[in-house]
């Protein structure tokens, strides 16, 4: 058998074997494993990286990735709205809405700063690791260490300016205004990216 045939037979069997084993313990976990495989495969093929969305736009006026992230956000704004409308009772918060502290602003700045030497975001670290780049094991190890340090210090940062409850737009301003604001913000990001592209084209 050729190497290709061996791969075509063994890879799906291994994936399904793990899925079956997970299914016996926790069916939801098996579903997440399969979703992860599919998503990881497509993201690997399309070289997905949120760090690159920012970095390549800033450095090379290459906005392809930024547009792709914006496309994903536009689609999920619609699908998530439907899911939350059906599943999250009025006045309640979805799990993804997080409280606001000084760290809400400082955290992303540090994260963006770290993405540059790390050569990718948390997602592309996993993808590049899967491609066999063992260099990203060090990034992953660093991310775990940094996460622990950040979790340990979280109380201090939260105490700095206090903690505000999560701002979930549909609860704060109502669904119609939230959808309009969301669409407006996405449009602003789109226009800024287009403006930057044109600036790059002139250069």
């Amino acid at each position: 058998m050729s190497r290709k045939a061996v791969f075509a037979l063994t890879a799906p069997s291994a994936v399904l074997l793990v899925a079956w084993w997970l299914w016996k313990h926790h069916p939801q976990t098996a579903a997440m494993w399969l979703l992860g495989i599919g998503l990881g495969a497509v993201l690997q093929r399309s070289r997905y990286c949120v760090a690159a969305a920012y970095r390549d736009a800033v450095l090379f006026f290459d906005t392809g990735m930024a547009h792709s992230v914006l496309l994903a956000l536009t689609i999920t704004s619609v699908t998530f709205a439907v899911i939350y409308l059906v599943r999250v009772p009025g006045g309640q918060l979805p799990l993804a809405a997080q409280p606001l502290t000084a760290g809400t602003v400082i955290g992303p700045v540090l994260f963006g700063f770290g993405m540059v030497p790390a050569g990718g975001c948390a997602a592309s670290t996993l993808l590049r690791l899967g491609e066999g780049h063992l260099r990203f094991l060090w990034t992953l190890l660093g991310t775990v260490a940094g996460s622990l340090l950040g979790a340990y210090h979280y109380g201090w940062w939260a105490g700095l300016l206090g903690t505000a409850a999560p701002v979930y737009l549909p609860t704060s301003i109502g669904w119609p205004a939230a959808l309009l604001l969301q669409a407006g913000l996405l449009l602003v990001f789109f226009l800024v990216i287009r403006w930057w592209e044109r600036k790059g084209a002139v250069r």
């Binding site: 976990t29 495989i37 990881g40 547009h67 660093g142 991310t143």
Partner: protein
Amino acid sequence: MQQAAPPQHHPNLPREWPYWVGGIALAVANTLILLVDGRPWGITTTLTHVGSRALQLVGFQPEGWTYFNHVGRDTLLSQFGWWDTALWLNLGIVAGAVLASLAAGEFALRIGPRKWRKLALSLSGGILMGYGARLALGCSVGALIGGVSSFSLHGWIFALAVLVGVLAGIRLFRRLL
């Protein structure tokens, strides 16, 4: 700076897929993940849980930290175990990348970094990302993509503030990389 490995041509797969395919896949998958798990894809919260379990094994008590007690239901350390859905989602992401790069003939074990300087950059970049992600309660995936999609203000703040960090990082590291 990290460049994609030079792709080798493979008759069955295009050299690489356009970015928008990844964007649509991410949107579809994240919608399914929200349906199955009640929360969108996140990476660093899982890494925090894994690391904290390791700390518990060597005698530390992270479960007493403010972070694990006052933030939200999804940060509870006591709920994290071997069958954690987000853990297996992220293991699947790595496995999916292994399979896709194998199928495309791109997979190769690349030992590295060989230089101490590069190792220090990878490690310190990771530490900064991890630390920042915990303060922000999510990374570029959990807070930015998941937060914005969930109409949460913290996601939009992340999308803007991360740009400040990237600009500062590029300014400082441009000569080093």
